[in-house]
């Protein structure tokens, strides 16, 4: 019989996935109401991958994230208030309003940055892993990216070097099927990313990215492999981007049927079924938890909206670190 997650882990991930979902829905609403400047990319439908991989890392492990990275940050311990404040460009945001949705980072939490360049984080992940090795720690680095990034040279240079130097990099591809409008079938030659990784001598697997348990267990094994010094690992989480590439995307490039089919496989409903089936939560418990987290998100939105804008002096701050190193 396949291993099941313990109740506490399942519950913790359910709570986290709800937090990510409601965070994203709140942003969508703010955006459609014209209360957000700029652009933002939602990870609705991909919560199981973010939670299942990232939440089980140690605080001192690192991640490199993507432009669709809100879920990764929340899973790494990110706080809703500075998250939403950053997305609203406020001075209280993680980046003081200077990064925005695509550049949320926290050195304290080990998030080396969401990234506006789809494969831009992979070389950084390789360097952080090299650093861990040179400093003699057992920290690992999770490089998160999507199907779109797998066609950029960075991905190949990074996998090659991580394998060559046996570095503790856990490559996690959230294959959400669409790179902006281009389906993975039209962009990935050979069609099999695990085989590509194998070409670099990197062990790997592909899992149902909407099944939290499957993702968590595969990631746990991978983390053991990487932390144990056996070199990098590649995990494909097959999932789907329920929303458009950005809020407001008309999605002319794919059928409503495809989206509807994936909606039936909603990763949050999947976990909810497990919790109900196993008698961990009742329907009322679930409703209660949803209401509680929605309230938490509402409070964070309020915090973000009432936060101050950065003043003009901020323009010339934070470009350089002053002074010589110790």
């Amino acid at each position: 019989m396949t291993e099941m997650l313990d109740n506490e882990t399942l519950l913790g991930n359910y709570r986290l996935m709800l937090k990510i979902r409601f965070h994203e829905e709140a942003i969508k609403k703010l955006y459609l109401e014209g209360r957000i400047w700029g652009t933002t990319h939602l990870c609705i439908g991909q919560e199981a991958a973010a939670a299942g991989v990232v939440a089980q890392l140690r605080r001192d492990d690192y991640i490199t994230s993507t432009h669709r990275g809100h879920g990764h940050m929340l899973a790494k311990g990110g706080n809703l208030k500075p998250m939403l404040a950053e997305i609203l460009g406020k001075a209280t945001g993680y980046c003081k309003g200077k990064g925005g949705s695509m550049h949320i980072a926290s050195m304290e939490l080990g998030n080396l940055g969401a990234n506006g360049i789809v494969s831009g984080g992979l070389p950084i992940a390789v360097g952080a892993a090299l650093s861990a090795k040179l400093r003699g720690t057992d920290q690992i680095v999770v490089a998160l990216f999507s199907d779109g990034a797998t066609s950029e040279g960075n991905t190949h240079e990074s996998m090659n070097l991580a394998a060559l130097w046996n570095l503790p990099v856990f490559f996690v591809c959230e294959n959400n099927r669409y790179a902006v409008s281009t389906c993975c079938a039209d962009s990935i030659a050979g069609g099999n990313l695990v085989k590509r990784a194998a070409g670099y001598g990197i062990a790997g697997a592909s899992v149902d990215g909407n099944d939290l348990e499957a993702v968590y267990l595969a990631a746990r094994a991978a983390i053991g492999h990487v932390r144990g010094g056996q070199g990098p690992y590649f995990l494909e989480c097959a999932t789907f981007r329920i929303e458009g590439h950005y809020v407001g995307d008309a999605m002319l490039y794919r059928s409503r049927t495809e989206t509807d089919e994936w909606r039936k496989r909603d990763p949050i409903l999947h976990v909810e079924h497990l919790l109900l089936d196993r008698g961990i939560l009742s329907r009322e418990d679930c409703e209660g938890m949803r209401a509680e987290i929605e309230e938490e998100v509402r409070g964070a939105v309020q915090y973000a909206e009432s936060s101050p804008e950065p003043g003009p002096a901020a323009i010339y701050e934070d470009l350089f670190t002053d002074g010589a190193a110790s």
Binding site: Y94, K96, G120, G127, A128
Partner: protein, 326 residues
């Protein structure tokens, strides 16, 4: 402090070795920097002294070399990465321009990037169009980067040591034709601060600003001009970004004339920027338009005669100074 004669190459090697001995966080990474000692011999002996962990030979993967340097810098190391030719920076531009230069600012200041990128540049060796370029002006347009261009062994060592100890990304651009040039280098620890120009020769008639190898062309030209009765004040900016405009302005206010010399193409090059800044700051002081000496706006041709015709020569400096003195 006592001095001895060292080549520019030896000065670079000594700077790296000094910093690696001084600080265990410093390491070197790049193509052929190991037993081979670097394409231009600038890391000779380092592999033997520090071993393969700290002197890391990489595959030909410029993007991950620079990006991994950034990842290591963000996580507690102080890497020196070598990009063999400045031309090859084109392969590393995302890691340098989109990532290293701006992570600190994008993250609201919450990142420290002690990354040094060394590279070799310049024409005059028959290396043709893809191994001879002076692309340093690209980086002038990228806030967050500093760029040094030493012209002497003493500065090559002192600026590189300053770069390694700086907590920000610094690009050290070394001229291939200078590696064999020798000059006095102090024994013991010293740095040449970033952003400080040096007046190589005081004069009263015209200010001549030249970078890197162009200083070697300027020196004999200045002697000839002195015989004609033209007293040139010769400034080597040493760092082209940030630029020591204070020293340059003070000189132009004295001489009321300026000639600027750089090996890069005329259009969009360092001379464009510097002449614009002199006119911005000192227009009322000028008795003649600022003259620029730069390369022709063509790729570097292979043929020896054509190559020498395209890049600045002593005769071009003589002509420019005589023109502003008319």
């Amino acid at each position: 402090m006592s001095e001895r004669q060292l080549s520019y190459r030896e000065a670079v090697t000594e700077a790296i070795a000094d910093e690696m001995r001084r600080d265990p966080r410093v390491f070197l990474m790049g193509e052929d920097v190991g037993e081979h000692g670097g394409a231009f011999g600038a890391s000779r002996g380092l592999y033997q002294e520090f071993g393969a962990e700290r002197v890391r030979n990489t595959p030909i993967s410029e993007s991950v070399i620079a990006g991994a340097g950034l990842g290591a810098a963000l996580t507690g190391m102080r890497p020196i990465v070598e990009i063999m030719y400045l031309d090859f920076m084109a392969m590393a531009m995302d890691s340098i321009v989109n990532q290293a230069a701006k992570v600190k600012y994008m993250f609201g200041g919450h990142a420290v990037v002690p990354l040094t990128i060394r590279t070799a540049y310049g024409a005059g060796r028959g290396n043709a169009a893809q191994h001879s370029q002076s692309l340093e002006s690209w980086f002038l347009a990228v806030p967050g980067l500093s760029v040094v261009m030493p012209s002497t062994p003493c500065d090559a060592k002192g600026l590189l040591k300053a770069a390694v100890r700086n907590d920000n990304p610094v690009i050290c651009v070394e001229h291939k034709l200078l590696y064999n040039e020798t000059g006095p280098v102090p024994v013991g620890d010293y740095i040449v601060p970033l952003g400080k120009a040096v007046v190589r020769r005081p004069g009263k008639d015209v200010t001549l600003v030249a970078t890197s190898r162009m200083c070697s062309l300027a020196a004999p030209a200045i002697e000839k001009l002195a015989q004609e009765g033209i007293d040139v004040e010769f400034i080597d900016p040493r760092t082209i970004k940030p630029l020591d405009m204070e020293t340059i302005r003070a000189s132009v206010r004295k001489t009321h004339r300026a000639v600027v010399v750089n090996e890069g193409p005329r259009t969009g090059g360092f001379t464009s920027e510097l002449s614009a800044r002199i006119m911005d700051d000192c227009f009322d002081e000028l008795d003649a338009p600022v003259k620029r000496v730069a390369a022709e706006d063509v790729p570097i041709p292979y043929n020896r005669n054509l190559e020498l015709e395209v890049i600045p020569a002593e005769k071009d400096i003589l002509a420019a100074v005589r023109a502003v003195m008319k």
